[in-house]
């Protein structure tokens, strides 16, 4: 799956303590380095297990692009005890369902099941993590599946093509350069040896964080983890990614041809990773610009000036410096250059005049509601806790987030807008029918 835009994921509320305390998350680490986070919640007779592997397309290189995502698929294609098809068949027979996704940074496996089936889920996971079998026949048919996944993405959304081109231009050296799904020719040429090495290196227990939430006791989770997962040996830490994208020193522009009703426009600025101190102010800025119909860009460009048919923006958590991206569809009869200029005018306004206290308070109120959404379900709990643990280095940071958001001032928001929304730091992409125009 393509990078998910999930700003809501990390927008934790301001009175989180009232709902869930740091103490509600219990943890243990197996001898092989696999870390577990557990939240007991008996509100429904179900439970889940989220496994976050620290591997994504940033761990690839040209020649094996797309392999992380492909591997995600191969994890369902048979191991020693549960052969081909049996992982899904067994899970569904026991009332469970699953899915998985891959981003530039991580590969995440999600299992949802009746709490009474927890032991089966541990057995299934233990089997595939310890002894996945990479059957060449399965590799071939699964190759067709991911090629279809790539093709259907491109077939159904112009953003897919435009964002791939834009990302490849904004990142010239860092592995965020290529799409998560991979290059078509690489996809057709992954080798058995690549897959085997990938499994050994990245699917090691010490490269994984597991979150379990729902109607099961901590002691039972620990007992099952020790039984099914602790025997799996640890591996040496995966190689570090040394490439740092050099600073961009001038605006870059790209153009893509595709038959569309009106031009699609993307603008991307380099911004820091999740652990950077500017993360919270940038996140708030993102909401101020495009969160809801009273946001700056919607009000100005879609409603008042009618230059855009729609506009949104995204800034999500990452390990390495990433992009703050704007996506706009031009209104009928409008030239995309006029829309682009109008976006810059709005960004300049924030750089010059800042935002209002009322706007800042609005975003803080919205974050509280988003937080409630996240902790209302056992799945929201696992997703949030795991994300904080993996991207911020400690799930307890989730409980600091309210204070960190509250600390953000109007001046901070103005400062990050000024710092990152500069001409030389941006890449602009246009997709339209007539690229000669």
């Amino acid at each position: 799956m393509k990078k998910i835009l999930l700003p809501a994921l990390l927008l934790l509320g301001l009175c989180i303590q009232a709902q869930m305390k740091s103490d509600d998350v219990k943890t243990f680490t197996l001898k092989n380095g696999m870390k577990f986070l557990v939240v007991e919640d008996f509100s429904i007779p179900n439970a889940n297990m989220y496994l976050f592997y620290k591997v994504g397309s940033r761990n690839e290189y040209q020649g094996i692009t797309g392999l992380s995502h492909f591997f995600e698929h191969m994890m369902f294609n048979g191991a020693k005890k549960y052969g081909p098809k049996l992982f899904d068949q067994t899970m569904e027979f026991n009332g469970g369902a699953n899915n998985a996704y891959t981003t530039e940074n991580v590969t995440v496996y999600t299992n949802w099941f009746p709490a009474s089936a927890t032991e089966v889920i541990f057995d299934l996971e233990g089997d595939r993590i310890s002894s996945l079998s990479i059957d060449p026949k399965m590799v071939e048919s699964e190759r067709g599946v991911v090629l279809s996944e790539r093709s259907t993405g491109l077939e159904n959304s112009p953003w897919e093509q435009l964002s791939q081109t834009l990302q490849g231009t904004a990142f010239l050296e860092h592995p965020y350069h290529w799409p998560v799904i991979g290059y078509e020719d690489d996809m057709k040429n992954w080798k058995q040896a690549d897959l085997e090495r990938y499994f050994k290196t990245y699917y090691a227990p010490n490269n994984c964080v597991v979150v379990v939430s729902g109607g099961i006791k901590y002691d039972d989770v620990k007992r099952l983890a020790e039984k099914y997962l602790e025997p799996i040996p640890a591996q040496p830490a995966p190689p570090k990614i040394n490439i740092v994208e050099p600073p961009q020193t001038g605006e870059r522009r790209v153009m893509v041809q595709k038959e569309v009703a009106t031009p699609y426009l993307m603008i991307a600025y380099h911004v820091p990773e999740a652990r950077h101190e500017d993360y919270y102010a940038l996140n708030i800025l993102n909401s101020i610009l495009t969160g809801g119909k009273s946001s700056r860009l919607y009000t100005s460009l879609v409603d008042k000036k009618q230059l855009a048919n729609s506009i949104f923006s995204g800034y999500s958590e990452s390990f390495d410096p990433t992009l703050f991206q704007f996506y706009a569809v031009t209104a009928k009869g409008i030239h995309e250059n006029d829309l682009e200029k109008a976006i810059y005018t709005e960004l300049e306004k924030i750089k010059q005049e800042g935002i209002t206290e009322a706007e800042l308070q609005k975003i803080k109120n919205q974050k509280l509601m988003e937080f409630y959404d996240q902790v209302e379900t056992i799945n929201g709990k696992s997703n949030n806790i795991g994300t904080y643990e993996v991207f911020f280095g400690d799930y307890r940071k989730m409980f600091d987030a309210p204070a960190l958001y509250n600390k953000v001032t109007v001046a901070d928001v103005q400062r990050v807008a000024t710092k990152y929304f500069t001409r030389q730091n941006r890449t602009v992409g246009v997709l339209k029918s007539n690229t000669e125009d």
């Binding site: 799956m1 009232a18 709902q19 509100s43 429904i44 007779p45 179900n46 995600e72 098809k85 899904d88 068949q89 569904e92 027979f93 009332g95 469970g96 369902a97 899915n99 998985a100 891959t102 949802w112 099941f113 009746p114 009474s116 089936a117 071939e140 048919s141 699964e142 067709g144 599946v145 991911v146 279809s148 996944e149 259907t152 077939e155 159904n156 959304s157 595709k258 038959e259 569309v260 009703a261 009106t262 809801g292 119909k293 009273s294 009000t299 409603d303 009618q306 048919n309 569809v329 209104a331 009928k332 308070q361 109120n365 919205q366 509601m369 988003e370 409630y372 209302e376 379900t377 056992i378």
Partner: protein, 464 residues
């Protein structure tokens, strides 16, 4: 991503089919009717300090008449300002509170969904009342909305997945109102005015025939008083103009193939379907269990054959879309243009296999476990529960449906499953819609039935 949730816009709204886990019971709720006919449902849920509101009105696309898109635009325009608030002020107030209120129309009904912090309930409920009872249908706002919609309609033609459902419903239901296109077409949306919206609103938004449900962190006693005050002044509507959805749905007499040409398509996106069931069908639960096996989950017969065994597609599935008076059954998937024929043939082969081989005890047990096991998370949040209550109103079922679900699922045996297959899963006279490059696949399309070819960029009078 491992799986694609097949979101097919324009298809009949599907009612989620709840299954029950061990002992799952619907939490207590109360309902009452105001003198003007509005049904109210209340359910206290105190886990999180939020409140969810769900409302349903008999104002869906089936009432569009010749003006396709009218119901949808009317629902959207409910938020274009009220007696008290301009559109901008309304959005600003809601955004400031972090509250969400959305209005929309589906095939049969229109609705409102809202979620807000419990402490803001007085303010937000006032706004909701204004949206439902006192919309002004501002002309300037409508002009902008329409302009955006017209671009969106054009844009959707860039995505086969976005338009295929509308083509299929038209092909299957023909002139019956279930064939109406929810979002409309360029030709029908262009002439619409706020006078049309006001007319549609005054005829179809009425307390009698509508319901509002509230779930979340509040006191039912106080909420009852609040809602009674807010909504008692809503006047009963004029005598109903008649719901044409009750008209008989004519069954297809032969297999038809609608080929929608998209010159730059690299894939073929297709639906194979037939008439389905109404929501009140007594076999509803049993049909869901059998469909789970056929095309409703990852290991289903369809996905196993088209994806896992052959790598022809990223995902294949099937579903019954059930409305009040009827519905559809569809198989949907997509494949590279050059594998169109094997993919369609495989889908048909799997359907034939369902009829000829049936299902076995182990598979049936698995499907039963699955629908039961996946049930409780569907009713975990206040929004899910308020939505369920309006569906109970709309489709006329009560908590016994949920509380007895497990029992009903368990009661399904192989004989009954066999009967379900032959009665509800089609064998012949199948209806096909293929969106793809006609120059490459027209010869193939002809194989499956009486062929009609249309251009994705054009729109005909009959909806094609």
């Amino acid at each position: 991503m491992k799986k694609l949730k097949l979101l097919i816009a324009g298809l009949l709204l599907t009612m989620a089919i709840p299954a029950a886990a061990q002992g799952y019971k619907l939490p207590a709720y109360e309902k009452f009717r105001l003198p003007n006919g509005l049904m109210v449902y209340l359910m206290e849920q105190h886990e999180v300090p939020v409140i969810s509101v769900s409302a349903i009105f008999p104002a869906g696309a089936i009432y569009d008449g010749e003006k396709a898109g009218l119901a949808s635009l009317t629902a959207t325009a409910l938020k274009h300002g009220t007696k008290t608030y301009s559109k901008a002020k309304l959005e600003e107030e809601l955004d400031f509170l972090g509250a969400s209120v959305s209005t929309y129309a589906s095939k049969e009904s229109a609705g409102l969904s809202a979620k807000f912090a419990a402490k803001d309930k007085d303010m937000v409920l006032q706004i909701i009342k204004g949206i439902i009872l006192e919309p002004v249908f501002d002309t300037a706002e409508f002009t902008k909305e329409k302009k955006r919609l017209l671009v969106t309609l054009e844009q959707q033609k860039e995505s086969p997945r976005s338009v295929i459902g509308g083509y299929f419903d038209k092909l299957l239901f023909g002139d019956h109102v279930y064939g109406n296109l929810q979002q409309g077409k360029t030709g029908t949306v262009t002439p619409l005015t706020t006078a049309d919206l006001k007319g549609f609103y005054s005829t179809n938004y009425r307390p009698d025939g509508s319901a509002i449900s509230v779930a979340g962190d509040f006191s039912a006693k106080e909420m009852k008083a609040t809602l009674t005050t807010l909504f008692s002044g809503w006047k009963k509507g004029p005598k109903t103009t008649g719901n044409q959805a009750g008209a008989p749905i004519s069954k297809p007499a032969e297999s038809n193939v609608l080929l929608v040409n998209k010159d730059d398509a690299k894939e073929t996106t297709f639906i194979i379907g037939a008439p389905g069931i109404a929501r009140n069908n007594p076999d509803y639960v049993a049909i869901d269990v059998v469909n789970t096996l056929f095309g409703g989950r990852f290991t289903s017969m369809l996905n196993d054959e088209l994806r896992v065994n052959s790598g022809l597609t990223y995902g294949a599935g099937s579903r019954f879309n059930a409305l009040k008076n009827g519905g559809s059954f569809i198989i949907s998937t997509f494949t590279a243009g050059k594998t169109t024929e094997p993919a369609i043939d495989k889908a048909l082969e799997v359907l034939n296999k369902l009829h000829s081989n049936g299902i076995d005890e182990k598979a049936l047990t698995s499907a039963k476990n699955y629908v039961k096991g996946q049930f409780p998370p569907r009713f975990e949040t206040a929004s899910q529960l308020s939505g369920l209550m309006t569906q109970m109103f709309w489709y006329n079922f009560d908590e016994s449906f949920i509380n007895n679900f497990e029992k009903n699922v368990d009661g399904l045996n192989l004989d009954k499953a066999k009967e379900i297959i032959s009665k509800y899963f089609p064998k012949d006279k199948l209806q096909f819609v293929l969106v793809g490059k006609a120059a490459d696949i027209q010869k193939i399309a002809e194989k499956y039935g009486k062929l009609k070819v249309v251009e994705i960029k054009e729109e005909g009078k009959k909806g094609f």
